[in-house]
C-alpha cells in the first residue's frame, strides 16, 4: 500500500509546472512559502541559534546573561544526575522498543484470513495512544497505588506481597516503562497493519500450499518483508522515548524516593531551565540530547543493513 508516489513522477510534475511563466511563478512560490518560512524562522531557526548561544552563557535570575564559555558543558558532563538521567532515558528507549514485537504479533494475528472484528480490535488497541498522557499517568498511578491500588489486590490473589510500584526505586522505572509500552502499542500496531497489508497474499498462499505452518509463515514471510517498516518504527520509537517527559512528570511526585532513578533527560532539562534557574546549563543539556539522538539514529541506519530487507 504505497501511499506516496514515486519520486520520478514528482520530478516530472515539478518540471512541467516550472517551465511556465518563470519570473512571476517564482515570486508566487515564495509567497506561498513565506508564511511557513516566517514561522519557522521566528519559532525554530532563530531559537535554535539562540539556544546554541545560551549554552555558553549564564542567566541572571531576573534577566540578562553573561558569556561563560564552555562551563555549562563541563557542568553537564560532570554532573552525576545527568548521567543517571541519561541511563534512565536509554533504559526507557529499550523498554519502549518492546512495544514493537507486541504490535507485530497482534498485527499478524489481525491479518488472519477471514478474521472478523478487525476494525473493532484496532480501534480498542489504539485508544491508549489517543488518550491524554497526563490522564493516562493518573489512571496508572491509581492502579499502581500501594495501599488501595487494584494491581496489588489482583496480585495478592497469587500470593504476591503488597508493593509500592511507582515509589520503590527498584520497580519505578519498570512501572513507568510498562505504561509507555501500553500506551504506544496501538500506534505501532497501525503502522504494522499498514505494512503487512503491503505484503502480497500470494506469498502466504504459496507457503501454505508448501505446507508451512502459521509460525513458519510468520518468520519466513511476515518478518523479513516487514523489516523496513520495523526499522522505521524502531527509529521513531527511539526518538520518542529519548524525549519522554509527560508520563514521568505526572507519575513521579517531588518526594518520590525513586525520582532520581526515573528522571529523564527532558525532565532534568525542565527542572534546570524552569525551576532551578540554570537556563544556560539546560541549553547545553538539550544540545547534548540532540547529539545523542542524532548519534543513535545514525547507528540505527548503519545497523539496518544487517537485518532490513528491501524487497
Amino acid at each position: 500500500m504505497s501511499v506516496f508516489p514515486s519520486t520520478a513522477a514528482s520530478k516530472a510534475a515539478g518540471r512541467t509546472a516550472a517551465t511556465r511563466s518563470k519570473p512571476r511563478g517564482q515570486r508566487t512560490a515564495y509567497l506561498f512559502i513565506a508564511p511557513l518560512g516566517l514561522g519557522f524562522a521566528v519559532f525554530y531557526f532563530w531559537p535554535l541559534l539562540q539556544t546554541f548561544y545560551f549554552s555558553f552563557t549564564e542567566f541572571g535570575a531576573f534577566g540578562g546573561h553573561t558569556f561563560i564559555g564552555t562551563d555549562n558543558y563541563l557542568r553537564v558532563v560532570k554532573d552525576v544526575t545527568v548521567w543517571q538521567a541519561l541511563g534512565n532515558t536509554l533504559f526507557y528507549s529499550l523498554i519502549g522498543l518492546t512495544a514493537l514485537p507486541v504490535a507485530i504479533v497482534v498485527a499478524s494475528l489481525l491479518n488472519r484470513r477471514g478474521l472478523r472484528g478487525v476494525a473493532v480490535y484496532r480501534a480498542l488497541y489504539f485508544v491508549p495512544f489517543v488518550t491524554l498522557p497526563v490522564a493516562v499517568g493518573l489512571v496508572w498511578n491509581w492502579l499502581y497505588n500501594g495501599d488501595f491500588g487494584l494491581l496489588n489486590e489482583m496480585l495478592s490473589r497469587f500470593g504476591v506481597d503488597r508493593h509500592y510500584w511507582v515509589s520503590d526505586p527498584s520497580t519505578a522505572v519498570y512501572a513507568i516503562g510498562t505504561v509507555m509500552v501500553w500506551s504506544s502499542t496501538g500506534y505501532y500496531l497501525i503502522i504494522f497493519m499498514a505494512g503487512i497489508k503491503g505484503i502480497p497474499r500470494d506469498y502466504y498462499e504459496a507457503a501454505e500450499i508448501d505446507g508451512a505452518g502459521a509460525l513458519r509463515r510468520f518468520f519466513t514471510i511476515t518478518l523479513p518483508l516487514l523489516s523496513p517498516t520495523i526499522f522505521f518504527a524502531s527509529v521513531i520509537c527511539m526518538i520518542n522515548s529519548l524525549q519522554t517527559f509527560d508520563l514521568i512528570y505526572i507519575m513521579m511526585a517531588e518526594k518520590n524516593p525513586a525520582i532520581g532513578d526515573t528522571q529523564s533527560v527532558v525532565g532534568l532539562f525542565y527542572k534546570w531551565a524552569f525551576i532551578e534557574n540554570a537556563q544556560g546549563a539546560a541549553a547545553a543539556l538539550a544540545f547534548l540530547l540532540m547529539l545523542l539522538i542524532a548519534a543513535l539514529t545514525y547507528l540505527q541506519f548503519r545497523l539496518q543493513k544487517r537485518w532490513v530487507h528491501y524487497g
Binding site: 531576573f62 509500592y164 526505586p169 518526594k255 524516593p257 525513586a258 525520582i259 532520581g260 527542572k271 534557574n277
Partner: protein, 418 residues
C-alpha cells in the same frame, strides 16, 4: 528579543509613570492602587481585613490582592519581574529571599524602618535576620511557623502509654513508636517522612548537626548523619511507613486517618487538623522531643516591596502598617497563621481551645531559622533524589548523606563563583 524587551521597557516606563502622576510620589495625587501578591487562599480573608483597616487610615491608597497559586507563584513572579509587571508588595519566603535580594529586585527597607521607627524588634530576631541580605533589611516578617509533635491521644490510650511532654527525649519517642506500631491494624508509631522542613531539618539540628553554616554543607557531618539515621532507623524497624508508601499517602494524611500515632508537623496545619473531628477530639500537641539538643525549625513569610514598583511610598506605608501591632492582631484573629508580632498570638491560641498551641510559641526560644543561601532551591533539589533510597528502607543513609554534602558544597561553590 532581549533588545526588544529592553526597548519596550524603556519606552513604557516613563509613559506609565506619567499616567500615575510622576515617580514614587504617586500616592500624593488622586489615589493609588497597590497590588499585593500572595499565594495562600486560606489567608485571603484575614488579609482583606488588614487591608480594610489600612485603607481606613490611608483613604487615598487602596490595595488589591493578587492571588497566585503556590505551584506557579515563583515562576510567575520571576517573569513578571522581568516584564516589569510584578506586584508592588508581595510575600517572600526564606528559600527565595536571597535570590531576589541579590538580583536587585527588592526595595531596601533599612532606611524606611529607621525613619518611621517600624517595630521590627517586636518580631522574632531569627526571622528578621532571615530577610536581611548583606546588612540591609529587605523584608519584614508577617507570621511564623514552627514544627511540633502532633500525637493521637486515642492511640496512646489504647497502647497504655503516657502522652508526650516537654521531658521527652528521642529515646522516649522511639520507645513509644515501637509500642504504638500495630502491623495488624496497619498503624505506625511515627511518620519519618522525607520532608526537609518538617522532618529532616529538625532531626539534623536536634542531633547537634547543621544544614548550612558559613557557606558549607552540614550533611557530611557526623551529628547530622546521626539525625538522619534517627529518621531512617524508624523506617528500617517498621515503626514508620517507608517513604515509598508516604508518596502515595503522605504522613499528614496518615495522621489524619489515624494510621500514624505521632507526626512532626507545622503549626500552620492547626486549622486543618482542627477541622478533622477525630483530631479535634483527641489530637495532642507537644514540643519536639530532645535529641542531643533542643531544636525545631522556624520559618516565616515576609512582606517585601518590588524595586520596580512605581508606588514605593504608598507601598512602604502598607508594609509599615502590616509590621505593626494592629495588623498582627487582625491576622491572629483570622486564625490561619501565627502572627510574628510578639504578644499578639493570644487570639490564635484561643481560636482552637482544644489544642495546646502554646507549645509552638514556646519553641521559638531554641528554634533554628530555616537555612537558605542565594540559590537555595538548587541544593535543596539535591536532597530528595539522593536520600530517597535510604528513606525507603534500602539503607545507606551515611553514604547518601556524605554524597549529598559533597554535591551541596559543589552547588554552594558554584553559587559563590557566579
Amino acid at each position: 528579543m532581549r533588545r526588544r524587551t529592553l526597548l519596550g521597557g524603556a519606552l513604557a516606563a516613563p509613559l506609565l509613570a506619567a499616567c500615575s502622576g510622576g515617580g514614587g510620589g504617586a500616592d500624593g495625587g488622586g489615589g493609588t492602587t497597590l497590588s499585593y501578591g500572595m499565594w495562600d487562599p486560606a489567608q485571603a480573608p484575614g488579609m482583606e481585613k488588614i487591608i480594610a483597616a489600612f485603607e481606613e487610615r490611608h483613604p487615598r491608597i487602596s490595595v488589591r490582592i493578587e492571588l497566585t497559586p503556590w505551584a506557579s507563584y515563583w515562576t510567575t513572579l520571576k517573569t513578571s519581574m522581568r516584564g516589569g509587571t510584578a506586584p508592588d508588595v508581595f510575600w517572600m519566603n526564606a528559600v527565595n529571599f536571597q535570590l531576589y535580594a541579590a538580583g536587585g529586585v527588592l526595595e531596601p527597607l533599612s532606611g524606611h524602618i529607621e525613619a518611621d521607627a517600624t517595630p521590627v524588634d517586636h518580631h522574632p530576631d531569627s526571622l528578621v535576620r532571615l530577610y536581611a541580605y548583606r546588612g540591609t533589611q529587605y523584608g519584614i516578617p508577617k507570621d511564623f511557623d514552627t514544627v511540633g509533635l502532633w500525637y493521637n491521644k486515642a492511640l496512646f490510650d489504647k497502647a497504655g502509654i503516657k502522652y508526650p511532654d516537654a521531658s521527652w527525649t528521642w529515646d522516649d519517642l522511639r520507645d513509644a513508636a515501637a509500642e504504638l506500631t500495630d502491623p495488624r491494624r496497619r498503624v505506625h508509631g511515627f511518620a519519618a517522612e522525607m520532608d526537609r522542613q518538617m522532618k529532616i531539618y529538625p532531626a539534623v539540628c536536634g542531633a547537634g548537626g547543621f544544614i548550612l553554616e558559613d557557606g558549607r554543607s552540614g550533611f557530611g557531618d557526623e551529628r547530622s548523619i546521626e539525625g538522619l539515621r534517627f529518621l531512617t532507623d524508624m523506617i528500617d524497624r517498621g515503626w514508620s511507613p517507608p517513604q515509598s508508601a508516604m508518596v502515595e499517602s503522605v504522613g499528614r494524611v496518615r495522621y489524619w486517618s489515624e494510621k500514624v500515632a505521632m507526626n512532626y508537623d507545622l503549626s500552620a496545619m492547626a486549622g486543618q487538623m482542627y477541622a478533622v473531628p477525630a483530631l479535634k477530639d483527641h489530637g495532642g500537641i507537644a514540643v519536639l522531643p530532645k535529641g542531643r539538643r533542643r531544636a525545631t525549625i522556624i520559618h516565616g513569610l515576609a512582606n517585601v516591596i518590588s524595586a520596580k514598583s512605581r508606588k514605593k511610598a504608598a507601598a512602604w506605608k502598607f508594609v509599615h502598617f502590616m509590621a505593626g501591632r494592629e495588623a498582627a492582631e487582625i491576622q491572629a484573629k483570622a486564625g490561619a497563621t501565627i502572627s510574628s508580632y510578639a504578644g499578639t498570638q493570644d487570639a490564635w491560641l484561643k481560636s482552637m481551645p482544644e489544642f495546646d498551641l502554646k507549645h509552638f510559641i514556646e519553641m521559638q526560644k531554641y528554634a533554628v531559622p530555616y537555612p537558605s543561601s542565594e540559590n537555595t532551591a538548587v541544593w535543596e533539589n539535591l536532597q530528595y533524589p539522593l536520600l530517597g533510597a535510604a528513606f525507603s528502607g534500602k539503607g545507606g543513609i551515611e553514604s547518601a548523606a556524605r554524597t549529598l554534602g559533597e554535591q551541596m558544597d559543589r552547588a554552594l561553590e558554584e553559587e559563590r563563583a557566579s
